[in-house]
Amino acid sequence: MPSSAAQADPIPANSIPTDRRLALHRTMQTIRATETTLSRLFADGEIPGFIHLSVGQEAVAAGVVGALGPQDSFATTHRGHGHVLARGVRLDLFFKEIMGRAGGICGGRGGSMHVADLSLGVLGANGIVGAGLPLATGSALAHQTRRTGGVAVAFFGDGAMAEGALHECLNMAALWTLPMVFVCENNGWSEFSPTSTQFAATLDKLGAAFGVPHRRVDGNDVAAVAEAAAEVVEAARGGGPRILECLTTRWHGHFEGDPQRYRNADEIAGLPQNDPLRRSAEALLAAGVEESALAALVDSVDAEIRDALEAARADALPDADAAFRDVYTPTTLTAGA
């Protein structure tokens, strides 16, 4: 079921200072404007392949990634743009990658479903539902073994609740007290099907079965997400795995171009009522932030995206020989390929 604030656990009222809320709002605005731009570029034929947009889910990315420290890491999903942007990947390198240009963060080899920035602990978006869960589990294992003090986050959608990987990884993380947070972006849709038709359990019960504490928040309230994420990330750092379930909304189709005939028109029309950006803006205005400051923030983000897009359009397509590089690591041990 699509989310509503009423389903979420109660949170302490607005404990986040205004300047922090502004930073979260800017991150969300960057994600929203980037995704909206990508939607237009895709419709215009400027982006090859498939893209999966996270419009409507921005508060989860901003709130959770904003709670991470530099030593932390995460693995994300096919709908992973927001998480990577929130982590601060260079916007021009991001646009170049999605548009299949030579200067993309992955050299144009991965595209939307494989954006990664290992220098920021981003272990990649992933084309396989649920596949980021074991990667994050292993990353948490490495943090624990190496004593980095880091936490690993696995982002996954509610569709991945039916994947065995979730069940296996909850078990391993619990057995080993791993510094790990399982972040479910529950938008009610498992690709083209309502999750209510796909998953017989609930995530809180699943967590309880493994003794993994579960917290559910209104995933379209960025302050609530940020507060809960800060709590579970710090709890996981020494105390073992946590689940953070964020009830959110997917405004676009499973993939861009999906006509969503399986979806009720009223549900789609009602989505802006629960717009995380609008809710965040209202909270900021109520806290005394000037409307002009929010307008300036939007203009500033738009300018950054314009510059990044311009750089991406000006960038060359990858040379054909780049298709044949980086399968193996160059090493003196290796004879041939």
Binding site: G110, A131, G138, C169, T331
Partner: protein, 324 residues
Amino acid sequence: MPKPLRYVNAVAQALNDAMAADPAVMLMGEDVAAAGGPFKATRGLLDAHGPERVRDTPISEASLVGAAVGAALTGMKPVVEIMFMDFVTLAMDAVVNQAAKARFMFGGQCSVPMVLRTPHGGGLNAGPQHSQCLEAWFAHIPGLRVVCPATVADAYSLLRAAIEAPDPVVVVENKALYALQGDIDVNAPREVGKARIDRAGRDATIVTYGATLYAARAAADRLAAEGIEAEIIDLRWIQPWDEEAVFASVAKTHRVVIAHEAVQAFGVGAEIAARIASDAFDDLDAPVLRVGAPFMPIAFAKTLEAAYLPDADRIVAAVKSTLA
């Protein structure tokens, strides 16, 4: 003289020495720690290196191999054990879509320094789901390395090489060889992609790997008694395989038989035969022949399994056929 080791002890020593040499190396797998491994390939390592670096995992092949990939991307060099190669079916996403592709699809940002050790092969009457030789699947995947050590010395050196290699390596050990005795040389070169001439000969080349090496040796002995000198190349590495060594031998003998325990159809031998046909055709005096398992699952009962496994008889017949 050092005391001869069993193959399985050479594996354990390679793991031990690699862990002593590099604190990033860790072991993960079902029953590898407290129980010392189902085949005892990790015996003693928990005591030597502690429970953080020698981890018993739940019976969750998909996620334990996926976790190894994530650990490798976060500074560790995991060596995972899959108890029987047949079980690797459960971990194929982690191996094929994650480990093999991360370096390439992330634009060369990272390597995935991990090893997946697993035993293949028949001869123990373990039946259709505990005996398969599936190495060709992995050799087919760009980004993976595949090695099949046939000797005790190679069980040590090639595992050390695999652990030191920066990319994911599937190390396939024939479980029928675990009791084999031999010597190791801890200072032997740790080479990737190098074959070994096991026996020199002038009349025909037998290209093989893994436990089939011993069938090839028996075949070569019988052929020698009839005045036919077969050269045996132990490939060791399936991916990359040593084209230079194979082509050099073909140029000398002009006749080739490729023998392996895995199913012949669409197998490692098919690839090598095709490459010889395209790149060394002028050196050939006879068609390239293959000796592999029939296109059948492997059966349990002793007589059924024995009928299935490629043996010296079939290699002898194939070599004679190339000379006919």
